[in-house]
C-alpha cells in the first residue's frame, strides 16, 4: 500500500540483489514538499537532503514523449569521519520526471558517488509501456 501523500524515498526490490530507489511514485503534490526523507543509503548514515528543484520539461522515454514535472534532489552523507570504504555511497543526485497525464513518474535517473568521488551507481528507470485502467 502506497500513501500518495507521503513524499518519501523508498527502496523497491525487483529481485534478489536488485532494487532501485523510488521517490513518491504517484507524486501527489510532490512540489509542496520541502525536503523528502527516508533516503535508503547505507545503514546508520545520516543524509543531508537538498530542497527539491522543480521545472517543467518534455521527456522522451520508450513509451513516448511526455510533458513532465522534473524534480531534482541532491544528498550527501553526514557521516563525517565515518566509513571510507570506496563502495559506500556518500553523495547522490536523484532526478525524477512525473507526468500528470499518466499520474506517475515516467523516468528516474539516480546517480551515486563514493566519498572519493568514484561513481558507484547510474540507475535509469524508464516507462516502456502504459495501459490506462478501467
Amino acid at each position: 500500500m502506497i500513501d500518495a501523500d507521503q513524499i518519501t524515498f523508498a527502496s523497491r526490490p525487483l529481485r534478489p540483489g536488485t532494487s532501485f530507489v523510488e521517490l513518491a511514485p504517484y507524486a501527489r503534490d510532490i512540489w509542496k514538499m520541502a525536503r523528502p526523507a527516508g533516503y535508503p543509503g547505507p545503514a546508520g548514515a545520516m543524509w543531508r537532503v537538498s530542497t527539491p528543484r522543480y521545472s517543467e520539461e518534455e521527456v522522451r522515454v520508450p513509451a513516448g514523449t511526455f510533458k513532465a514535472l522534473r524534480v531534482e534532489v541532491n544528498g550527501a552523507s553526514e557521516a563525517f569521519g565515518g566509513s571510507v570504504v570506496q563502495a559506500t555511497a556518500a553523495r547522490f543526485v536523484y532526478v525524477a520526471w512525473y507526468s500528470p497525464e499518466l499520474n506517475r513518474y515516467v523516468k528516474i535517473h539516480h546517480q551515486t558517488w563514493s566519498r572519493q568521488n568514484i561513481k558507484l551507481g547510474d540507475e535509469v528507470v524508464q516507462l516502456v509501456e502504459y495501459q490506462p485502467g478501467r
Binding site: 501527489r28 522543480y54 517543467e56 514535472l69 502504459y130
Partner: protein, 438 residues
Amino acid sequence: MQTERGIPWRSGLRCVLALTVLSCFRHGLAADVDGLLYVLTPAILDRGAPIAQSVGAECELQEVMGQQAYKYVNAKVRRTVTQVRDVKQAGEAKVVTVTILSAQGVGGGGWSGGKTLTVRADITQAGELVASKIFITNSRGGIAGAVSGTCWIFERIARVTADRMARWIPGALMTAAHAGPQGERRVAVQVPALVDPTAKVFDGIESECALPNLLANHVFGQIRNRYYGARILGAEGPRPTDKVLRLTILNTQVVPGGGFTGPKGITLQADVLENSRVVASNVFQRSGSTGTNAQLNTCAILEVVSVALGKEVAAWLPTATDVGSILPAAADEGGQDLPPEILVTPPQALMQAQSTAAGPVVAAGATATALAKVDPQASSASPPAPGMPAPGTKWKYGYRDQQYPGEETVFTVEVATVNVAKVSERVVVDGTGRFRRR
C-alpha cells in the same frame, strides 16, 4: 531611373517580410497561449492591508514586490514570461498577480525586531482562478539585520518571497492542468471576516493587524489548498451553486504588548450558506504564544493563530457540505511559512453544529447560533483524490544500472485498488530484455 524603380521593389519586399514576421508572431502567440505567463507589476496592495506609510511609500513595497516576482518567475519558470501593468493585456493567457496582505514590524530597521510580509499569489486565466497560495515570510535581515534599514529588510523579504513563489508555480500549474474543471459546487469565502458586535476586540484589530482581512485570507488559503475551485467571494456576489463560507470573529483574547504579554487567541465562527440559508455552522478557538522570541508583535502572533484556524476550518468543511474536488493537504503548510517561535495551542472544542437545508435563514452580517449535532457519517464518505490512477492501470518500466553494463530488468506496476490517496499495487518482474525504442 534605377533608383526610382528599385525603391518600390525593395519597399514591397520589406512589407512582405514585415507582414510575414508579424503574422508568425501573432500566430505564435495565438497558438501557444498555454506556454505564456504574465506577471502583473507592481504588486497589488490589499485595501485592508496594515502597512505603515513609511513602508508603503518610502520602501515602494508594491513596486519592489512586483519586480522581484517578475524577476524570479522569469528565471525559474520555463515559459515565456512577460510583465504587464494591466491584467487585460494578458488576454487569454495565465497571469500571476501578487497581493500584499500585510507588512508587519515597521520602523527602527533591524533593531526593532523581525519584519513579516504576507502576500497572496494568484494565477488567473480569463478571469478564472487557476491557483492561489499565501506566502508569509519573516526575516530579521540576516547577518547585517541589526544595522539594516526597514526598507532593506523588506526588500530582502520580497526576494525570498518571490523565490518561493517562483518555485511554487510549476507545480501549481501542473496540478491545475490535471485537476480538471473546477466544478459547479464551489466554496466561496467571504473576505474580510465579520466581527460580532458583542465581541471583545482590542484597539488596532483592524488598523494595525487587519485581523478580519488576514484571518479570512488565511482560511481561504487553507481551503484552497484542499478544495480545488475555492475562491474569494467577489463584489459580484455568489453564484447560485456556490457554497458561501461566512466567517465571524466572536471574540479575541488579546492583551496588547506582543509576546511579552502572554498568549493571544481568536474565537471564530464559520457558517456555510446555500442560497443565503445557513446549512452548517461551527465554532473554532485557537491561541498562540511566543516561545523564545518575545519581540514578535501581537499581529504576527495572531496571524499564526489565523493559519491554524484556517486549517481547522478547512478540515471541518467536508463534514459540513459537499465541497467538490479535494486536493491533498499541503505538505509544507505551517513551518517554513511562519515565524518558528510561535506555539499554537491545540484546538478547544467549543461547539460543533450542523443542520440540514431546513436551517434558519440568517442575514449576512448576523451571528449564527448553534443548530444541531454534527452528523458523524457526514465525514466518512471522502471522494477519491484527483490525480490518482484508476484501478487496473499498468505502467511497464525498464530498469538498468548504466554503471554496470548488462541487461535491463523489465517490471510492471498495476494498480489494484485506490482509496482516496492510498494505492494498493501489484508489481510483477517480467524478466530481462532490451529497452523498446521508438
